[in-house]
């Protein structure tokens, strides 16, 4: 196949990828968008296979085998994964793209002639080495960073995998998988030093084509990926996952420059900007700068400052909550990460059904950083068959809390904290929050009085109109449903 025909095919694939993203502008067109994505990928793979310069039947069999192994594994994982585990899954998938980028760069480094990146004397073109090096570094950071992010989201190893970890590594693995930030002393200095060495090695690779320098550079990039993510706490994961999404795109673009392949460049740019926009949206929703999130350690210092005076809270039972809810006209449900942890989305759906049947208007309010990744809550509610037209984003619904009879907060804390609006000394001051405090009654499902992620007290708990419902989110919601029905 001529290289120009192949390039036209890549153009078609790239357009399909743009249409895939475009489809996500509304749930109605989203599935068509996903099909465009699949079509684009199929075209890209077929064109590349047809254009392979001197591949024999053995090569094609090897490729089919590789696609079959990987494809089967991917398909099974995609079918079995719990929706609550979606953040971990996305992090795991990011790590694979990163590692694939490293492998492709290694292949190009070892066999540059087949990639068409050699000078006449057989050495690799200088610019190609820089592009390849950058692709490798970003790919390696994406890989190891995503592995750590996966660990923090998963929180603990499945029993089978835990047995495989050698004893002396167990404490390190447990610490890395904890959602608590790990703060190494002088971590910024360490990171900057490693970053500089990586850059020096990149220069060495470009100047000398040294394989040793290439390997060292890759290993250090893996190391810095780990060091960058360990100081970041669990609830900042929406930013981290978005950022790694972005990195996986830039890694693909870097490889695209190496291969002189416009489709990889276009796709990498699309994915890179997508992840960057999501990171921006997440940071804005926390009123924090990207750098403050990435530098990590949030929540560690604030915890000490938490005010624990002897204020009284009013606690109630499921029956009390049920009585008020079924006599309400309008109930707004605010889900948070706790709903995901308790797997309570299906009980929430029952509550929605029961109250709707009684003529109560039920709506859902989603804060952009509720959960552990962008859109996490929306997927869980959709999984539980809650129609998406009763689910609203913060800006759409915030002025409706004033007319709501009940705000039912389930497993969310900081995103409802009115201190963010009024208390200039609060670490989350300025963060946009859901105006739950304006509802006529607030029900807060919570396991205990422990503070939220940011380690700060929530004045909402002590309001006269607030009733605390202590217990598991799922059990409590089920009990309320039973009381309303009974």
């Amino acid at each position: 196949m001529s290289i120009n025909i192949a390039a036209i095919g890549y153009l078609v694939a790239a357009v399909f990828f743009i249409l895939a993203l475009r489809g996500l502008s509304s749930p109605a067109t989203s599935r068509a968008g996903n099909r465009y994505g699949m079509a684009g990928m199929t075209i890209a793979i077929v064109i590349t296979l047809l254009a392979l310069p001197h591949a024999g039947i053995g090569t094609y069999l090897l490729i089919v085998l590789g696609i079959a192994i990987g494809g089967a594994a991917g398909f099974v994982i995609a079918r079995r994964i719990e929706m609550t585990a979606m953040p971990q899954l996305v992090a795991a998938f990011h790590s694979l793209v990163g590692l694939a980028a490293v492998f492709v760069a290694a292949g190009a480094f070892l066999n540059p002639a087949d990639f068409g990146i050699t000078n006449l004397d057989g050495s690799i073109k200088g610019l190609s080495l820089v592009e390849m090096g950058l692709g490798t570094i970003i790919g390696a950071i994406t890989f190891s960073g995503s592995v750590i992010a996966f660990g923090k989201l998963q929180a603990k190893l499945p029993p089978g995998a835990e047995a495989l970890v050698p004893g002396f590594l167990k404490p390190a693995v447990a610490a890395a998988m904890s959602s608590r930030p790990i703060m190494l002393p002088a971590r910024h200095a360490i990171n900057i030093a490693i970053g500089l060495v990586i850059l020096l090695l990149l220069v060495a690779v470009t100047a000398t084509e040294s394989g040793t320098a290439f390997v060292l550079m890759t290993l250090l990039a893996f190391a810095i990926g780990v060091l960058l993510i360990i100081p970041i706490g669990g609830a900042d994961m929406p930013v981290v996952v978005s950022m790694l999404n972005s990195y996986s795109g830039w890694a693909a673009a870097g490889i695209g420059f190496t291969l002189q392949n416009p489709m990889l460049i276009v796709t990498g740019a699309l994915v890179g900007s997508s992840g960057a926009i999501l990171s921006y949206i997440m940071c804005r929703a926390m009123n924090r700068s990207f750098f403050s999130v990435i530098l990590g350690g949030f929540g560690e210092t604030a915890a000490a400052a938490a005010d624990t005076g002897d204020k009284t809270v009013k606690s109630g039972s499921a029956e009390d909550a049920a009585f008020i809810m079924e006599n309400a006209q309008k109930v707004i449900i605010v889900p948070g990460y706790g709903m995901a942890v308790a797997q309570a989305q299906h009980s929430v759906r029952e509550l929605y059904d029961t109250l709707t049947k009684k003529g109560v208007e039920v709506r859902f309010a989603i804060h952009p950083v509720a959960g552990r990744m962008p859109g996490h809550m929306n997927v869980l509610l959709a999984e539980a068959n809650i129609p998406y037209d009763v689910v609203f984003e913060m800006e759409e619904i915030n002025n409706e809390f004033g007319q709501a009879d009940v705000a039912y907060v389930i497993g969310a804390n900081d995103i409802t904290n009115p201190a963010a609006k009024t208390d200039t000394s609060s670490p989350i001051y300025g963060m946009p929050v859901l105006d739950v405090d304006r509802a006529k009654a607030v029900f807060f499902v919570k396991r205990s009085m422990a503070a939220g992620y940011a380690g700060i007290d929530n004045p909402l708990f002590y309001m006269d109109r607030t009733m605390m419902l202590f217990g598991d989110a799922k059990k409590m919601t089920e009990e309320i449903v039973r009381s309303v029905e009974g």
Partner: protein
């Protein structure tokens, strides 16, 4: 006039594609941000193109190429399938 270097062409494509991405992604509804991540993840596995070339090159490059084909395939099939699964759940009232 002398011809433009292909590297510059690639840079032009890259910058324009970032702008396309910027405007397309801002139009994505926030409710679908999780499927957005899983689908961008699937399409970034188009890096399989490089993996196929490496496998076709033979020798030591083919070993890395094959491994990259496997990893990217996990992502392609897994990413599109899980996106499909999620999108199928989003339903309207009634």
């Amino acid at each position: 006039m002398e011809a433009i270097d292909p590297g510059i062409f690639n840079l032009i494509i890259f910058v324009l594609a970032i702008f396309v991405g910027y405007y397309v992604v801002w139009s994505v509804t926030p409710a679908l941000h999780t499927p957005l991540m899983s689908v961008t993840n699937a399409i970034s596995s188009v890096i399989i193109v490089g993996a196929l070339i490496a496998t076709g090159a033979g020798g030591a490059a083919a070993v890395f190429g094959f491994l990259a084909v496997v990893l990217a395939s996990v992502n392609i099939f897994g990413g599109f399938a899980v996106t499909e699964r999620m999108l199928a759940m989003f339903k309207k009232r009634g």
